[in-house]
């Protein structure tokens, strides 16, 4: 029978070695806090790690505009890759922080920042909304 214990995680097993690591905790919290911010910046400044051209299956480092006669370009993969690399780099730097400083990072930013990123993402899609409004 399901009881309070089932839904209350406090009674769960002790964390694995990775989850028990303080350094790993600093890495993941920094990665996840910085990730949404970095993604918005990467998209705003348009810094894809690579550009994919789906019609020709061509991948080019960095940004490359769509070429005439070769179909559209896709930047989302490159933006995501850049974000993961930068967030991981920030996470590695955070691992070197002393515990007393790392403890001051508000953990609630992990879920607040992605919510705050949504208005920017909607704004970044403005060309779609403008086209829809003038349809």
């Amino acid at each position: 029978m399901s009881t309070t214990a089932a839904a209350t995680p406090r009674t769960g097993p002790p964390p694995s070695s990775l989850a028990a690591s303080s350094a790993f905790g600093k890495f993941v919290t920094t990665f996840s806090i910085s990730g949404p911010v970095v993604y918005c910046l990467v998209q705003y400044f348009n810094y894809p790690l690579f550009t994919f051209h789906p019609a020709t299956n061509r991948i080019v480092w960095g940004y490359e505009a769509a070429r005439s006669g070769e179909g559209p370009n896709m930047l989302w993969y490159g933006w995501s890759a850049t974000t993961i690399l930068i967030a991981a780099a920030l996470g590695i730097i955070a691992m070197m922080l002393p515990d007393r400083i790392a403890r001051k990072i508000p953990l609630s930013l992990v879920w607040i920042l992605p919510i705050l990123a949504i208005p920017y993402v909607v704004y970044s899609l403005m060309p779609w909304w403008i086209l829809a409004a003038h349809r």
């Binding site: 995680p9 994919f52 992605p114």
Partner: protein, 177 residues
């Protein structure tokens, strides 16, 4: 360049002569759907468990829905999110050519815009997974309670959004189109 395992972007070509291109992509779309359904179920259970924790022995179906051992879902959710993301990323290559261009030609701009919105949300969710996993694996530590609850609810809302947009888009131009 094509080999026997690749599929060209043109409609009507075949993979190894066994199945049509449409069938090939429909199968991948189905795999994407199966992963997404598993993810949606796991995250919804977990979100219900953290938002409305059960205080007494579970009786009805709603209480039982909330009374799952939520911590045990964390790794599964991460794996399913990544798998769904990877399969979705693969399908996206076909979408960009075979779906989006006709959508634009028919002036389905809101549909196209919401699909791009969905892709951004998928990546925003992806970068939350490491902290989400860590918070759940340290469920004994009350320091992470609020963050764990917040990130789980955010991921659950994101997942529902991704699922609904994907579903609507599929209805617009998806399976067998």
């Amino acid at each position: 360049m094509k080999d026997k395992n690749t599929v060209s972007a043109e409609t009507g070509s075949t993979m190894s002569g066994l199945i049509s291109t449409n069938t090939f992509w429909t199968l991948w779309l189905f795999v994407h759907l199966i992963f997404a359904l598993g993810l949606l179920g796991a995250l919804t259970h977990q979100a219900a468990a953290v938002a409305l924790p059960v205080r007494k022995p579970a009786g009805g179906i709603v209480s039982r829905f909330r009374a799952v051992p939520a911590a045990g879902y964390a790794t599964t959710v991460c794996v399913l999110w990544v798998l769904t993301y990877l399969v979705g990323s693969y399908i996206y290559t076909k979408y960009r050519i075979a779906i989006r261009i006709p959508l634009e030609a028919q002036h389905y701009y809101k549909t196209g815009g919401f699909f791009d919105f969905k892709e951004h949300v998928a990546t925003l969710g992806l970068v939350l997974l490491p902290a989400y996993w860590y918070f759940w694996k340290n469920a004994q530590n009350p320091q992470y309670d609020n963050a764990r609850k917040g990130v789980t609810l955010v991921l659950a809302v994101m997942c529902w959004f991704l699922f609904i947009v994907g579903h609507v888009l599929n209805n617009t131009r998806g399976f067998a189109s």
